[in-house]
């Protein structure tokens, strides 16, 4: 046991004397949460639009007012001819242009029908789509308000309510994802690098020749990172609660236990990576390509799994991050407990056991 404590002390010296890894450890989580929380967002705000009003009557004026007084859009420019449309888009500042047809009001009254064209810059398809939807819904609302006195033959009134994230804050979606990425990165990449470093420097050989047991070496490597990852998880949760006002509906204790489970899962992956890589560079590349990319792309963090091709949906099942994200979202946003999340938890436990057994086997083969 004394040997073991000495070993862990040594690991902390390594970590705290390497400013680069310290930065990755503690700078990254904060930077990422801030970045995803503030900068990256799916909501639209103050999108610049232009108007080409061929009719310039009271109705079009009213509609334009409705649109520009909302916080979503600001009218930057009135166009005077068709040719301008293309050049305005090419400059890039204007994301959408509304074109009202000639004699809009008159047509509306006489023919009960007038068109307004919404042209959007679809170089960014997500924004274009959202802008389109927002404008359409403002137009629809205007129509309903003006037709209040006339009774339509029948009417379907959609009454939507967004539960668990009523304001549709995208930070609620990013926090679980960022937490997953950080824990994966810190746990798997850092341990695999620290083990391969000993191999590269030749100190692993010295350790294997000494009376210290191989499993003590591995556990000694892992314990400091469990500790640091838990601190990271706490920092991320605190940031999301106090800065982004993200609720934790469920039990904090369960959140902690599940996080430790995921950390151990990532650590065992890190050990596995270190048994197959000879150098620190390889370990880093394998961790980045083999772990980070799937975590970002296939875990459902950014891209919804249900809209992926079937093959990718199947693959996503073997990615531990997918299950962990479901678990954190469940606990933080929905406030559910193990009665609901037992399946995901069991899958994570199973994967962890599998990785640990596999890396022990691999490690032994290497020693022969």
């Amino acid at each position: 046991m004394k040997r073991f404590i000495g070993f862990i002390k040594k690991e902390f010296y390594h970590i705290f004397r390497d400013t680069r890894s310290l930065f990755i450890l503690f700078g990254m989580p904060i930077a990422q949460v801030m970045l995803f929380g503030f900068a990256i967002t799916n909501e639209i705000n103050n999108v610049n639009i232009a108007v080409f009003d061929k009719s310039k009557d009271a109705t079009t004026q009213e509609i334009i007012n409705k649109i520009t007084t909302s916080t979503y859009f600001s009218n930057k420019q009135f166009l005077t001819n068709e040719a301008e449309i293309e050049s305005v888009f090419k400059k890039g500042k204007i994301k959408a242009i509304l074109v009202f047809e000639k004699d809009f009001s008159t047509k509306l009254i006489k023919e009960n029908n007038a068109t307004v064209q919404i042209i959007t810059d679809a170089t960014d398809p997500n924004t274009a789509n959202t802008v389109n939807n927002y404008v359409s819904s403002i137009l629809q609302k205007y129509q309903q308000e003006t037709n209040k006195n006339i009774k339509p033959p029948f009417q379907i009134v959609p009454e939507s309510r967004m539960v668990y994230n009523a304001e549709l804050k995208s930070v609620f979606m990013f926090v679980p994802g960022v937490m997953t990425i950080i824990l994966m990165l810190v746990s798997a990449m850092m341990t695999s690098i620290s083990i391969t470093r000993e191999k590269e420097l030749g100190t692993m050989e010295i350790l294997l020749v000494s009376p210290i047991q191989p499993f003590q070496v591995i556990i000694g490597k892992v314990v400091p990172y469990i500790f640091l990852s838990v601190i990271n998880a706490i920092v991320i949760v605190l940031l999301s609660i106090f800065i982004f006002k993200m609720p934790v509906q469920g039990s904090l204790f369960l959140l902690g236990v599940e996080s430790v489970l995921f950390i151990i899962n990532a650590l065992s992956l890190g050990i596995l990576i270190s048994t197959i890589s000879k150098t620190q560079q390889t370990a880093m590349m394998v961790s980045l390509m083999g772990l980070m990319l799937p975590v970002i792309l296939l875990s459902g963090f950014i891209f919804p799994i249900s809209s992926m091709p079937v093959a990718l949906q199947v693959i996503s099942n073997v990615i531990p991050a997918k299950w962990f994200i479901i678990i954190i979202k469940g606990i933080m946003l929905k406030g559910v407990g193990l009665t609901i999340l037992w399946k995901e938890t069991l899958i994570l436990v199973g994967m962890t056991v599998f990785f640990i057994v596999l890396s022990i086997k691999k490690y032994k083969i290497r020693l022969e």
Binding site: G6, F7, K10, H14, S210
Partner: protein, 242 residues
């Protein structure tokens, strides 16, 4: 000098699939002896050494190190041997003091023992001024001497040195060999591999491996007579060329 055998090897063999890396070698090393283990790259010396220090299982044969069998008691062997490899193997980002404490710790020395040993070691090597410096900032010669002393912290019966003087200047090499002599005089057996044939002359006995077999084993003096050579370099070349 007592003639107790500290290392005893008979027909030791290691096969990797069809390839026989170590082919039925036999030798004995006495207590307090400096035993030179020579061979060209790929002749099998590292593989043989790995079996003796308990990190590689032999395919067949008998090997006994410090009184323990390599098959049944590799853990006891580990406690009774020291090892220093060709790659420098202390931690660069730990201070001299921290390295000594760490390696003393993993060999199970008590805090008091570590403190005494450290004091002794620092005095012997004249490290008083740099004891709190990072090992990474020391010159290579210093590091190697320090690594050697650290490998001896737990007073092993045998110390295995795998090309310990690689990349060191002649003066440091000389000092290093003085340390080896002193260690052997204290009764510790020294098992050393080297590429430098002049160093082979310093050994009590020398074995030369060619293609997995020990082709010659005797004192440097007798080997030179046997092969009618002026120095060990010639002996080695004659053997290696077959």
């Amino acid at each position: 000098m007592k003639s107790k055998n500290v290392i005893q090897v008979e027909d030791l063999t290691k096969k990797f699939g069809d390839f026989t890396a170590v082919d039925s070698i036999s030798f004995k090393v006495n207590q307090g002896e400096i035993f030179g283990f020579l061979g060209a790259n790929g002749a099998g010396k590292t593989t043989a050494m790995k079996m003796l220090i308990g990190i590689s299982k032999p395919s067949s044969g008998i090997a006994n190190v410090a009184g323990f069998d390599v098959y049944t008691n590799p853990e006891d062997i580990k406690k009774n041997i020291g090892y220093m490899s060709q790659k420098f193997a202390l931690y660069d980002d730990l201070t001299v003091k921290e390295n000594i404490t760490f390696f003393g710790g993993i060999y199970g020395l008590s805090r008091k023992q570590i403190k005494e040993k450290r004091k002794q070691l620092v005095d012997e090597l004249g490290l008083q001024k740099i004891v709190n410096e990072l090992v990474g900032s020391l010159p290579l010669g210093w590091k190697q001497k320090l690594a050697f002393s650290v490998a001896l912290l737990h007073e092993p019966k045998v110390i295995f040195l795998d090309e310990p003087t690689g990349g060191v200047d002649p003066i440091t090499r000389r000092q290093f060999w003085e340390m080896i002599y002193k260690t052997a005089n204290n009764g510790t057996t020294v098992f050393v591999t080297t590429h430098y044939m002049d160093e082979a002359e310093y050994c009590d006995r020398v074995s030369i491996m060619v293609d997995g077999k020990i082709e010659a084993l005797d004192t440097p003096k007798k080997l030179k007579q046997q092969f009618n050579a002026e120095n060990m370099n010639d002996v080695f070349l004659k053997l290696a060329r077959g």
